[in-house]
């Protein structure tokens, strides 16, 4: 039998139909739905007189537009309320299970899948959201789709897809202290650019990756899309199995044993070929900070902001000049001299319990810089509860951080949590696009530890020198 990659195995396990010259028809094991990209899909189903083929394999949550403060007052933004009400009604009408706002299990769609044990190795998972790649950390093939495709999955539980290429991103060696999973993925994207993995599914491998916790692996797979990849995956191992075991939707008893036997087959065969291979040495990675307006515009914390004269071609020069102007930065300035106004800790990239612990350990016993305001938004209701059980909320609050309810929040500012024009934010989220966190807002992507240290210092600092 031909040697195959992890991605090829999971792809082939979901082939409903393969016909040369046509896209493969793939079966979707779990379809995650949220309020922003689904209303038009449900409307169209209704107009066509179609039903949801597998409501039992469809899970909806409300995350993008929810307020993180005073939620008991309901949704005050009239447009968000209409959108959320539409999802509630659509779920009732089509028999789709919804984790509603009053459900402690609700939260960001990519946090709750793994948290509930709904995300399992070897599954094919889709959602109308580009950060669906997060679920690949458990060895699932998971990718974002548009609303027309959401409708297609609702109606058929399948999706026609052209097979992407495969890419191996291998990271070897021990991570230096202060360098985290977020820095690995920022370092990779800084090198390949935001389109560097277009048309590919990335498998992250090597000793550095196998040494990461599930939370760290999810952070890495989450940002695969920021390198342009269709999905990111990591082969499941004992760390994965231990994470899944015992979660509410995980198999139990003999089903668990059967699943485990299958899941142990889910790794790339020794002689399998990837279409593209990249290698990174962990000991050469540093904490990273994005300086520009896309995630590829990222530098090590020890570096200076690029100058337009460093550009290799006119297009790059134009990109650097535009980004410097939007970010109100001067090329050549060390990034550690850049002062911040706001800090956002949260998102599907870094809103998990381990992220909050890492930030809390930096913050404990200290105070926010005077000119900085900061908020912590746990990724789910359960992450929030867990953090409160551990007393992390107290650490943050005593340091002057706001402790909020779960949701996507200021990662994309579809709720009231936005930057004011001109404000500069150290953010643990995934995108530093113009206006991403609010029109005119300026976003710098960092790890939770780097965000916490910046909150205290008032400017970016090298967390490796923090004491």
């Amino acid at each position: 039998m031909t040697a195959r990659t992890l991605f090829e195995k999971v792809w082939e396990n979901h082939l409903v139909r393969h016909s040369p010259g046509e896209p493969d028809l793939l079966y979707v094991d779990m379809h995650l739905v949220h309020e922003v990209t689904s209303p038009q899909a449900f409307d169209s189903l209704r107009m066509q007189g179609r039903t949801v083929r597998r409501p039992d394999l469809t899970l909806a949550t409300i995350d993008h537009g929810v307020p993180t403060l005073n939620r008991h007052l309901g949704i005050t933004d009239p447009m968000s309320r209409i959108q959320i009400d539409a999802l509630v009604r659509n779920c009732e009408e089509f028999g789709v299970k919804l984790f509603g706002l009053d459900d402690p299990r609700s939260g960001i769609v990519h946090i709750i899948g793994p948290e509930q044990g709904i995300t399992q190795p070897g599954m094919l998972i889709v959602c109308g959201d580009s950060h669906t790649s997060t679920h690949g950390a458990l060895g699932a093939l998971a990718f974002g789709i548009g609303t027309s495709e959401v409708e297609h999955v609702l109606a058929t539980q399948t999706l026609p897809q052209d097979r992407p290429h495969s890419m191996a991103v291998t990271v070897e060696g021990d991570l230096p202290t202060g360098v985290t999973a977020k820095d690995i993925i920022l370092g990779v994207i800084a090198q390949i650019g935001t389109g560097g993995a277009s048309g590919h599914v990335i498998e992250y491998r090597g000793s550095t990756i196998s040494g990461l916790s599930m939370e760290g692996r999810m952070t890495i797979c989450n940002m695969s899309i920021e390198g342009g990849a269709r999905a990111g995956m990591i082969a499941p191992d004992d760390i994965t199995f231990a994470y899944v075991e015992g979660r509410p939707f995980a198999p139990r008893g003999s089903a668990w044993e059967a699943a485990l036997e299958e899941w142990r087959q889910l790794s790339t065969d020794p002689n399998a070929d990837f279409d593209t291979e990249l290698f990174f040495q962990a000991n050469r990675l540093e904490p990273y900070v994005s300086w520009g307006t896309n995630p590829g515009q990222t530098i090590p914390v020890t570096a200076a902001i690029p100058h337009p004269d460093q550009a290799e071609n006119p297009t790059e020069r134009d990109s650097i000049e535009r980004a410097l102007a939007y970010m109100d930065l001067v090329g050549g300035t060390p990034i550690t001299e850049v002062e911040i106004d706001r800090v956002f800790l949260g998102s599907c990239t870094n809103g998990r319990i381990e992220d909050l612990r890492a930030a809390a350990s930096i913050v404990e016993g200290r105070q926010l810089a005077e000119h900085v305001s900061a908020m912590v938004v746990p990724g789910s209701g359960l992450v929030k509860l867990q953090a409160e059980t551990e007393g992390l909320d107290r650490i943050f609050k005593e340091a002057g951080f706001e402790w909020r309810d779960a949701g996507c929040s200021m990662c994309l500012g579809m709720n009231p949590d936005i930057l004011n024009p001109g404000e500069r934010c150290a953010s643990t989220s995934n995108r530093n696009f113009e206006g991403r966190q609010g029109p005119g807002g300026r976003t710098h992507l960092v790890s939770p530890a780097m965000a916490a240290a910046a909150a205290i210092a008032g400017h970016f600092v090298d967390v490796r020198e923090w004491n």
Partner: protein, 198 residues
């Protein structure tokens, strides 16, 4: 979806790389639950910030083809971005490379994604900047882009071309395989999760 055969129209030049869907359709408009009416919001923040932005210039108002830089449509999967471009009046986007989800979304709604070489895109960009009224023809059957003094071929997979030429939507096509879907379902391992069992 409207079938596509030949698109004839003028060009609007947007010479920027890595244009992300947050710019094409800012999030504030994603709260709408409608499927139509996004044209007036396309590039809203760039149009507001710069009176000289290409879509603000009357000479480009009737352009049918957007010519732009590489990795167009990166970032968020929001289909609102292609909805907006199409609703504005664009029928094709010509660039050196597209982000994957964006390209997929375009082919679902009949907005034609055309990939040409870097040189060819640069040539069209210069043309569009020099003469906003120049007419360009994109033939899907011939997979060609032509105008006076210029002719280029583009690659599109035959299946997508067939679907776009006939205006076929995927759901109808996939529903022809309901038997195969049911057969597949019967073989799925029983340990797989269902939301009704947790």
């Amino acid at each position: 979806m409207k079938p596509i055969n030949t698109i004839v129209g003028s060009l609007a030049p947007l010479p920027r790389a890595n244009v992300d869907t947050d710019q094409i359709m800012p999030k504030k408009y994603l709260k709408r639950v409608e499927r139509t009416g996004y044209g007036e919001f396309v590039f809203a923040e760039w149009r507001e910030a710069d009176p000289q932005f290409v879509l603000n210039r009357p000479e480009y108002r009737n352009a049918r083809i957007l010519v732009t830089g590489p990795n167009f449509g990166s970032g968020s999967s929001r289909e609102h971005a292609p909805w907006g471009l199409q609703d504005w009046g664009f029928e094709a986007i010509v660039t050196f490379s597209f982000a994957d989800i964006f390209r997929n979304n375009c082919t679902k709604i009949g907005l034609l994604p055309v990939e040409l070489s870097e040189k060819e895109v640069a040539w069209l960009m210069e043309l569009a900047e020099a003469d906003p009224s120049v007419q360009v023809e994109i033939s899907l059957p011939d997979q060609s882009v032509t105008t006076e003094g210029f002719s280029a071929e583009f690659v599109i997979d035959p299946y997508t071309r067939w679907r776009l030429e006939n205006g076929l939507d995927d759901i109808g096509l996939s529903l022809r395989h309901t038997d195969l879907i049911a057969e597949f379902e019967a073989t799925r391992p029983s340990y797989l999760p269902s939301v009704t069992t947790g």
